[in-house]
């Protein structure tokens, strides 16, 4: 077991190292000078040179790479070129919006998808099943930003229940902040819940067809008992995998919804930083996301091994 864990750890460190080189290299080749961007079209060449010096852009590529990686290792993400404040601070501010939003949306996803998926699988071919399948088809097909705009129209402009967007900040109170995240979370959850409900249904149908479920039924359990006590737990494995993927997607991929509701989230930060050539922010955020994903995979690998003894040997 220990050897297996060490092997996984080695591959984790290697992946991070490769990722850091790839991220740095890709961002280095992006054309555009952050200093020239900051100073605009009336700036003199000597001013741009002075700013490049101040930002440390005149160092060689290797020096900048090692400064960056060295900083990351000691927890220093560097200073943003445009905002001129520590990247760690900026990213933390955004995480206070993006993490709760992703968690909120994921909770809604699970709350919607589980009952719908289970219900559809247990009554396969019924009207319930057909309508769940129909609605989820629609949920996957409808672009979520369009749905978001409809909700703004209905609940912000017409009914005035919510404001059209923005985020008041957690200091203003928990419920006020949760309220401002509600419409965005629903918009994000709808397509994810549709996907998850369909995965739940088909996974459950697969396990319901397994021999051991037939055995359960044969020893006298009702269909519902067999489903709840035996089939569901096994059907959850692919569902949990999907949930894991959805969480990382919701964390970084909410950019369009963040734009519709003008929320100061992580996605918008990355987008804005790319257009402003605030490369150090882009590098650090991408690295952070890669780290999060790799770490989750590592945890999953270890968890697999705990569940499945066969994996501890071999590989």
């Amino acid at each position: 077991m220990l050897i297996y864990a060490l092997k996984r750890l080695r591959s984790l460190v290697l992946s991070l190292l490769v990722a850091s080189v790839v991220i740095f290299a890709v961002i280095e080749v992006v054309p555009g000078d952050p200093a020239a961007f900051m100073l605009g079209i009336n700036a003199q060449e000597d001013t741009i040179a002075a700013l490049r010096e101040e930002l440390g852009l005149n160092l060689s590529v290797y020096q900048r790479y090692f400064n960056w990686v060295g900083g990351l290792l000691s927890g220093d993400f560097g200073i943003s070129y445009t905002y001129r404040s520590p990247v760690a601070e900026i990213v933390t501010e955004r995480l206070w919006v993006s993490l709760p939003l992703a968690a909120y949306a994921l909770s809604l996803t699970v709350l919607l998808a589980f009952p719908a998926g289970i219900l559809a699988a247990s009554r396969r071919g019924s009207v319930t099943d057909l309508s769940v399948m129909g609605f989820t088809q629609l949920g996957v097909a409808i672009p979520n930003f369009w749905f978001a705009m409809l909700m703004v129209l209905a609940f912000a402009i017409n009914l005035r229940w919510f404001s059209a967007g923005g985020f008041p900040g957690w200091d203003e109170g928990f419920w006020i902040s949760m309220k401002s995240l509600t419409l965005p979370a629903i918009a994000l959850a709808l397509p994810q819940a549709s996907i998850l409900a369909r995965v739940m249904r088909s996974s459950l149908l697969d396990t319901l067809g397994e021999d051991y479920v037939r055995t359960c039924r044969a020893k006298g359990l009702s269909k519902a008992q067999a489903l709840w006590r035996h089939a569901l737990r096994n059907a959850l494995i692919p569902v949990l995998t999907i949930i894991g993927l959805q969480f990382s997607f919701l964390l970084a991929g909410a950019i369009i919804i963040e734009n519709v509701f003008f929320l100061p989230g992580l996605g918008r930060l990355v987008f804005q930083s790319i257009s402003q050539r605030d490369l150090i922010v882009v590098e650090s955020v991408v690295m952070l996301l890669v780290f999060a994903v790799i770490l989750v995979n590592f945890a999953v690998d270890i968890a697999y091994a705990l569940v499945d003894p066969r994996l501890r040997r071999g590989r």
Partner: protein, 493 residues
Amino acid sequence: MMKAISRSMFAASMMLTAGAAFAANTDVTVGLQLEPPHLDPTSAAAGAIDQVLYSNVFEGLTRFGPDGSVNPGLAESWTISDDGLSYTFKLRAGVKFHDGSDFEATDVVFSLDRARAEDSVNAQKALFAGIASVEALDAGTVKVTLSDANGSFLFNMAWGDAVMVAPESIDDIKSNPVGTGAFRFDSWSRGDKIELARNEDYWGTPARIEAATFKFISDPTAAFAAMMAEDVDVFYSYPAPENLMAFEADARFTILSGSTEGETILAMNNKQAPFDNAKVRAAVSYAIDRNAIIDGAMFGFGTPIGTHFAPHNPDYVDLTGNSAYDPEKARALLAEAGLADGFKTTLKLPPPSYARRGGEIIAAQLRAVGIETEISNLEWAQWLEQVFRGYDYGLTIVSHTEPMDIGIYARPEYYFQYDNADFQTLIADLAVEADPGKRSGMLKQAQTVISEDYVNAYLFQLAMVSVVKTDLKGIWENAPTQAIDLTSVYWAD
């Protein structure tokens, strides 16, 4: 289609909510599309910094009025020596920075010396180029000596890049700006909003509103929703002209349409064949129908221009006749230049909608006279790299928003690479001329020279369209500089 549906539904919903007005209050929320990168107006070009801070938080020796005139700011009065080389400013007494420290002559010396220093990162360093020395005569008097007389020195000192800062607060200026203005900086939630609060110890007439919030909403549809839901009280430089009709029909809102300093031009690479031939440049200018672009790309907002000068300026000369829309003439000029079969070139477009939408129309108009363009859409950073600094383009569209910037035509290395020694002499003479009558004549001559040389095709003066709640008064209609001066804004009852 999707947009059309949502727009008509928005319009329908609007009818239901009209009349649900809220009680007038003592603060104002301003919607803006772009967020400032940081809060130091003296070390970046971003217009958003000035929009939030100019005149509200930071003030200069002189300041721009709503009509673009230069008025006394922190300098109450000044005397100019007969040779035009030295300016003695008398500073206002009793002015305090927001941190409680006094504003004194030494702060002026610090601010100006910092801006013109060797390692200065001031985006408009040229404004300070002619300053030979700055000295404090006493706590309330400053003498600035110039190396050459400069007719626009007082104008230059009114820019946002020339505001007064204090040595004690300079280290944190990018996140905690300390100025002398009628509002002090309160807080900034990056990516979301900046809050200002009224400065109760202001030296001048205090602001009428108690607090101001600038909210950053980049998406045009979100801007529409925020305005309709009354989340913001004014949307400055409103980004979605296509749904202005909805606001026009709604008594809660008023549309302000004013002028800006933004000359929008189709710039030509004067050193690249075939644009090194004046006939080809003239042909391009004649091929363009300005009104079609204003109607098609700007929804009718904008004033046609025939040279690089703002039409609301008293010295403006209407030279649109030099290149009135005439495709026949454009074809004839191309034939004279030996390009009867037309030619191919690149048209590189930065992100603003005037460029992206205008570019499509211009491409069609040029195609009609035989000029094929290959359009590429660039981000600003790419545009700066390829077009502005790399000269790698044939045509591009850009709006020059700096006030009084005709002097860029005297810089042969400037991106359109116009190199005319006579023009350069004219601008050099203008810089040292102080007599208003002579200056006016020279400015008119300069406009005529670049128009007749067809340096670029001059399209239109960018309009500034803002949506304002009808009860909110005192918002500047015109934009003589990139400022949202809230010092005299108030709510009507």
